[in-house]
């Protein structure tokens, strides 16, 4: 083949193939830790880097298609690489690069059999996500979707000997299948009676508005189940604490985004231009509910991975708000504004991939070094694990939406999009928008609370347990992984002017307009739409603060002095020194939120009798939706199966009687 005619899609297929090969190699050679550690995972990270570079290149290229001679007879795999796919492949490459580097040292503690399986499934998981993003027919899409679900299920249940983990895996698998079923039905509707399941055919199928809306609702359900949309979020807080940390990082950072990809693909590409405003309003409303719910629950968690899982639910909510806003603007042909909110959504997807992976990997290091997931037993790790602590600090500030890091930029863009909502020609919508933006801001502000709690309790203060004194910092590969993701957060925060022009290819493809040169006319200032309207410059921001900090530091030293003395902290006049147990626990820190949002939660409290010699206070916070939705569902299923079980006695003559009665009935009715 002529080298000049190799297209990005060929490279991407090679990358996917390489991942599969690496997985198989890992499964065979899993016995040799050093091989896995020094060869398989670093090579896998190199493949991620390749994916990152190629998809960056492919973003600006016209769409490529390819038909693979694989699959069933007469039903080959169709692949297509357009800007949307390229963007999400870029996200996959960027996040998995960090995670694979990190995994290189993570796998060393596993036993041989587990490591083999982990290697295989990890790489199959990556390959199926990449294949999913390239799929150009519903058949391949669902094959990739299911292999992604299955491989991630096996990854979640890596420690399958623990019953809780098996239970978490089961819940995940169940909800994933409910979602897949909805997607199957959705694609069935989308083909519109032609029987052709390639995306090109789906795009041309004309659906009545009823069927289009049904397809949209099914897509929202199916992708919502994967993304953790309310009320299908219940698997997230169970699966994330169960899974090994690199898997949590990939699932939260990348796999949830494949659902966002799917939703964008179906609503804006396959169902192009035929959405009523109710779709956007529905997505917006669900997004806001999910965001507020997720962040309120995150605030009261005491398990650090559960906390991050709920925070992922919040971020998915924010992404859905962005999609909803995009759909609303697009309905009324305000394409530039649709492009603005879509840019915010894509930017936030990328941001979330970076900081959430970083935070999950950070908790992995903490878990590894201390064996504790419970916030109430950690503390003071900034002294023991400086690498992890400082990189996680960057992730924490980023996810809390603080300038000059990346989380702020996407939230800023989204708020700017909200401020354009008066242009919507629908008075009720316009009236609702301020309330919606207020709810979004509330969720974002609460996220800062959650992140202060997370970081402050894990890394700051005094160690709450004596064994924490033995905690060790992360190894070299782990540091590399963490540093890459932290650097990504900083880069995306400081250089939006370099990122947004790349996103323009995607928005032009999906909503027909882009922020274009107005957004980044000046490399220093980010000005979506108009410079008089809004502008923000992270570099300037950082520059001024750094200058003032440096000047103040030297001025204070010069004019006064730099004398410093170490002593004990102030002990309030108590005879004994300060105890670590006097610090806030996770429960204590979350208590105000619990009090304010009490109706949100399902709380079981046991008030102790104060006269007892050792009174114990117990409080259990559960997901309200378990009690409102899932428990009743379980009860109904239980009762139904109880009825059916009555027919089942295990006695042959009864079964013969059933057969006889059935035959009789058939003879009467089906003559």
């Amino acid at each position: 083949m002529d080298v000049t005619h190799i297209l990005p899609i060929d490279f991407l297929l090679d990358a996917i193939g390489l991942w599969v090969v690496l997985g198989i190699v890992g499964a065979i050679a899993g016995k040799y830790t050093i091989w896995i550690q020094r060869l398989v995972f670093p090579l896998s990270a190199l493949v991620s880097l390749l994916l990152l570079v190629i998809s960056l290149w492919a973003l600006s290229q016209p769409a490529d298609t390819l038909v693979l001679p694989l699959g069933l007879p007469g039903l080959p795999f169709h692949l297509r690489l357009d800007a949307l796919s390229a963007f999400f492949l870029l996200l996959l490459g960027a996040a998995s690069l960090g995670v694979s580097l990190y995994s290189a040292s993570y796998v060393r503690t596993m036993d041989s059999a587990t490591r083999r399986l982990f290697c295989l499934e990890y790489h199959l998981f990556l390959a199926s996500m990449a294949l999913l993003l390239l799929a150009d027919d519903a058949y391949l899409f669902l094959v990739a979707w299911e292999s992604m679900a299955l491989s991630s299920y096996f990854l979640v249940t890596t420690d399958h000997k623990i019953p809780d983990i098996r239970r978490a895996g089961f819940i995940y698998l169940l909800i994933a299948h409910l979602g897949a079923l909805a997607l199957l039905l959705c694609f069935g509707i989308l083909q519109g009676g032609h029987g052709d399941y390639t995306f090109a055919a789906l795009r041309n199928a004309h659906l009545s508005s009823f069927w289009a809306t049904t397809a949209f609702l099914l897509a929202l359900f199916g992708f919502g189940a994967k993304a953790g949309l309310l009320p299908l979020h219940v698997w997230l807080p169970e699966a994330h604490p169960a899974a090994p940390s690199p898997v949590s990082a990939l699932m939260s950072g990348v796999m949830l985004k494949t659902a966002i990809y799917g939703l964008l693909r179906i609503t804006l590409d396959l169902l192009h231009g035929q959405h009523p405003w109710e779709w956007g309003a529905l997505a917006l409303g669900m997004g806001l509910t999910t965001a507020l719910f997720g962040v309120a629950y995150a605030a009261v968690q005491s398990d650090m991975k559960r906390l991050l899982a709920y925070s992922s639910i919040e971020n998915i909510g924010i992404l859905l708000v962005g999609i909803g806003l995009t759909l609303l603007f697009h309905t009324y042909h305000l394409n530039l504004l649709a492009a603005l909110s879509l840019t915010a959504t894509l930017y936030h997807s990328l941001n979330h991939a970076f900081f959430k992976s970083l935070l999950f990997l950070g908790t992995g290091s903490v878990l590894h070094a201390t064996g504790e997931r419970n916030l109430g037993k950690l503390g003071g790790l900034i002294h023991r694990m400086p690498w992890v602590a400082w990189t996680v600090l960057i992730g924490t500030l980023a996810i809390a939406g603080l300038p000059p890091l990346n989380g702020f930029i996407s939230e800023w863009l989204l708020l700017q999009a909200f401020l354009f909502s008066p242009r919507l020609p629908h008075p009720y919508l316009v009236m609702m928008m301020p309330v919606a933006s207020a709810a979004l801001v509330l969720a974002v502000a609460l996220a800062a609370y959650v992140m202060v709690k997370f970081y402050g309790i894990v890394f700051l203060g005094q160690p709450r347990e004596t064994k924490l004194a033995q905690a060790h910092d992360a190894g070299i590969w782990e540091r590399l992984g963490l540093a890459w993701l932290a650097a990504g957060c900083i880069f995306l925060g400081l250089a939006p002017a370099l990122v947004i022009p790349r996103l323009d290819y995607v928005t032009r493809l999906l909503v027909g307009d882009a922020l274009g040169s107005t957004a980044t006319r000046d490399w220093l200032f980010l000005t979506p739409v108009l410079p008089e309207r809004a502008s923000y410059s992270p570099l300037f921001f950082l520059g001024v603060i750094t200058t003032v900090v440096a000047l103040t530091f030297f001025a204070v030293r010069r004019m006064y002095h730099g004398r410093l003395r170490r002593s004990d902290p102030w002990d309030c006049g108590y005879p004994q020194a300060i105890q670590p147990r006097m610090q806030d626990t996770a429960e204590g820190f979350g208590q105000p939120i619990l009090q304010i949002f009490e109706p949100f939660f399902h709380i079981e409290r046991e008030q102790p009798d104060a006269s007892l010699p050792r009174p114990r206070y117990r409080e259990k916070i559960e997901d309200r939706l378990w009690h409102l939705l899932y428990r009743p569902l379980i009860r109904i299923t239980d009762r139904l199966s109880g009825w059916i079980a009555r027919f089942q006695h295990g006695r042959i003559h009864l079964y013969l009687l059933y057969s006889f009665l059935t035959l009789l009935a058939l003879l009467i009715f089906v003559r």
Binding site: L393, Q416, R565
Partner: protein
């Protein structure tokens, strides 16, 4: 107008705001003393306090990390930036495109998160208590503040403070009912965010009530001085922000040196009035219980959202 002249104007403005900041606090305390029939410590007392603190030797807890030592500088730097963005004397300053109102809220959040983290760093009961309470107050105050800004943004079609102030000051003479709601909400947020009565009491060290003071309990000497000073800057920034949004008359254009004396006079007059008003408010009201604070801030939030709805009712 040259860029140099603008930059000079910018520098003068920010230095002026930063150096005037303790004076505003001195004035508020003096007014309060007069209202309470006391003689008061004089206008310059905050400067003396800062000077004294800078001279002292830092006493640092044994396991305080670098984060703890960085925070006072970061807080001072971010407050300086906030003060530079607000059009105090003039609009259209060279720094103003660096951040709009949403980014301004972001700057406040940035410095607050650092202070809350530093408070948790030493690991005393008071530190984490203060951090928790501060984050509680702020997660309620921040949305209210943004909603206030959205009110102004919808009228001026911009989140850029310069454009907002120019629109509100020069172009329209109509009254905006939504801005009345916003003003009430802004005042409540100002009191809460600057640790004033009724949400927090800056004069107390009683553990049941303190918020801001609990966070800074472990700080001493130059660190404490910088934190105190940045709190003064925060107060004056909020006050000038209120002036810029709700009483923007007299603010000059950048580089317009002839308008500058008038702008300074107008600023001093308005600051004096605002300080006296704050002192009166603090004398007349009592501190709320901590769990009444969410209600207080919830009211501010609702007022601001009501303002937005009023705006839409008017245009539709």
């Amino acid at each position: 107008m040259s860029t140099w002249s603008d930059t000079l104007f910018q520098l003068i403005q920010s230095v002026l705001v930063v150096t005037l900041a303790p004076l505003l606090l001195g004035w508020i305390n003096q007014c309060r003393a007069w209202l309470q029939n006391r003689r008061g410590a004089g206008l310059l007392q905050p400067y003396r306090a800062l000077h004294k603190l800078f001279h002292k030797e830092v006493v640092l807890a044994h396991h305080a990390s670098a984060l703890f030592r960085m925070t006072p500088y970061i807080r001072f730097g971010s407050m300086w930036l906030a003060a530079a963005i607000v059009p105090v004397l003039a609009t259209d300053l060279p720094f103003s495109p660096a951040a709009d109102v949403i980014a301004l809220v972001g700057i406040f959040a940035f410095s607050r998160v650092f202070l809350a983290l530093a408070a948790m760093d030493v690991g005393t009961a008071f530190g984490s208590l203060g951090a928790r309470r501060e984050m509680l107050v702020s997660f309620l105050a921040e949305p209210a503040l943004l909603m206030v800004f959205f009110n102004a943004s919808l009228i001026s079609h911009s989140t850029q403070l310069t454009t907002i102030v120019e629109t509100l000051a020069h172009h329209t003479l109509t009254l905006h009912p939504s801005m009345a709601f916003a003003a009430a909400a802004f005042l409540m947020v100002l009191l809460a965010e600057n640790a004033r009565i009724p949400v927090d009491n800056p004069a107390t060290h009683l553990e049941l009530t303190m918020i801001h003071e609990a966070m800074t309990l472990e700080y001493s000497a130059r660190h404490l001085a910088l934190i105190e000073w940045s709190s003064h800057i925060k107060l004056i920034t909020y006050t000038t922000l209120g002036i810029a949004l709700f009483a923007p008359w007299g603010i000059a254009q950048a580089g317009d040196w002839r308008a500058a004396p008038l702008a300074v006079a107008a600023l001093l007059f308005k600051l004096g009035l605002a300080g006296a008003g704050l002192a009166l408010l603090e004398t007349l009201s009592a501190k709320l219980r901590l769990f009444r604070a969410p209600e207080f801030l919830g009211t501010a939030f609702l007022l601001a959202v009501l303002g937005l709805l009023t705006y839409f009712l008017r245009i539709s």
